[in-house]
Symmetry: C2
Amino acid sequence: MATIKDVAALAGVSVSTVSRVINASGYVDSKTGERVLAAVEALDYRPSRIARTLVTRRSGTIGLILPDITNPFFPEVARGAEDEAYRHGYNLILCNSDWKLEKETLYLGILRQQCVEGVILVSTKLTEERLTEECRSLPPLVVIDRTITLDIHSISSNNVGGAALATKHLLVQGYRRIAHIAGPASSISARQRLEGYHRTMAEAGLPVDPALVVEGDYRLGGGKKAMARLLALTEPPEAVFCANDMMAVGALEQLQESDRCAPADMAVVGYDGIDLTRYVHPRLTTVIQPTYQMGERAVQLLLETIKGNESFQHIELEPRLAIGDSSVRRDGP
Amino acid sequence: MATIKDVAALAGVSVSTVSRVINASGYVDSKTGERVLAAVEALDYRPSRIARTLVTRRSGTIGLILPDITNPFFPEVARGAEDEAYRHGYNLILCNSDWKLEKETLYLGILRQQCVEGVILVSTKLTEERLTEECRSLPPLVVIDRTITLDIHSISSNNVGGAALATKHLLVQGYRRIAHIAGPASSISARQRLEGYHRTMAEAGLPVDPALVVEGDYRLGGGKKAMARLLALTEPPEAVFCANDMMAVGALEQLQESDRCAPADMAVVGYDGIDLTRYVHPRLTTVIQPTYQMGERAVQLLLETIKGNESFQHIELEPRLAIGDSSVRRDGP
DNA sequence: CTGAAAGCGCTTACAG
DNA sequence: CTGAAAGCGCTTACAG
């Protein structure tokens, strides 16, 4: 590998001059510039980012800590982030935290050593206190999918509003006895979606039978079990809004296994907008989260902060409803 | 951020000594060691990987270039690679090439500047010549999902064997008129799976009607169209082996839209083993590729090479058949 | 417009 | 067992 010294020697100038031309900084005679460029070309010289980082403190890398790239929700976030990073000459270091606090903390430390210019934390388990503490010794931080009140950038999607979208859709279809398969109460997004459901029902003047709200685990099995419980009720619901797609798919499976089908026997709506919803039968009505944009905006925020913007932002993106076949009343409202 | 100098000053020793204790290299008095460790603790000192890399040339990072993390095939590979990297204290830089030669080349250059210790290239479009050329100026390279004959590490899965697995399964079920929805001829894996199909049919002494081999595009739409063509034949097949799962799902959709169903009217088998196959109805029989292991082994190979192993390896992993409901003959063979 | 020098934060022989 | 010095490959004031 050629170094800046080799280029300088070949071009017959000092390393300072080479540095100036490759960075287009300071004055340099056009003739000299050409000679340097020729030498760069001849030696296939590529400046070492490592050396550059050591002096400038700018590594051109961003850390992305997410729970599990294998979970259908996260590749989109990663892709949005990587695309935006790419456009600005940045690279992404990918870290899977497995929803574990220790792995998050560990990676945060490693990324700091790695001299990343910013970190994106998706669905973090860290408390706000720890986060603010980390922020002192850390490069800029953006938290995705977690509402943060303190002085940390955050990007989230409107879960209350999204749940309202789903619930209203069912109301518009003419359903009144609407159940909710909720996510685990430990999850903030699950609580928010539950709230959106309750709020919308209340606004419509409809009381919610407590038996119609069943807690699931955000996984297929949980959705299945929850649906079984709903079907076992003396008066089962006409429709169910599930807090995520995996549970909705589980609910559909349970319906089928009980020889019923959606939407004829019960309307089903999911949440997230993962690919699977398009391939399942009946095609699932769902609330699509702007996952790609979340990753994209996170990098944008980081870049602005690196460039000196001081103000903390809390961006809330809007999900949108995608109507499939699983919730549409065929006989009309 | 505290530096090694700060630690040295606080502990009252030289930076050389600090370096020795944090790297556990060379002799150091236990008392001195303790003092240094105490200083490290007190200052929350974390050695800069950047500075260390500059002198040791070991950055602790590996580059992963794959076509698109959003494509269901790749997150598993990435996860396998990241897990193995994590175990050895390495980090992964994620790059999406969008199946484009230019992006691959560009990233290869950037990763070199970033001083990664190795690069994993998934489904590369680069020619073998270009690849060997790159290898001269580059850190160790491992190519995944692409058979390479030259002196480059490669990890692939046995596509011919996997296709044979699928085809034999259909034969065992008693089907004789077996069609193949192939992937695009430009894809090596598609050609290999086609070969596995042909070879198995020949071994069984069954001639293949050319009309039964239809080329698709590895996407849902292509599978749908191909199935439509098969259904339009005067003598449609009894079973079809699809070169990937997305096309198989498309084929299932077309069957359903034509008021037929699998496996009663036609048996369907896919390839890849993406999650979707488990949620589709009927549950799809498919050939599961060892994607996680491919990523894992790739990092292992890289690490061995970094440690000095000179011999080039071509690892071929074996896929396995997962029998679902889409291909099982209910009335018995 | 150009070059010499210092320095970024480490590691690594080399003396002692 | 410990420290002074050189050096990794750059950038950045500072002279000239």
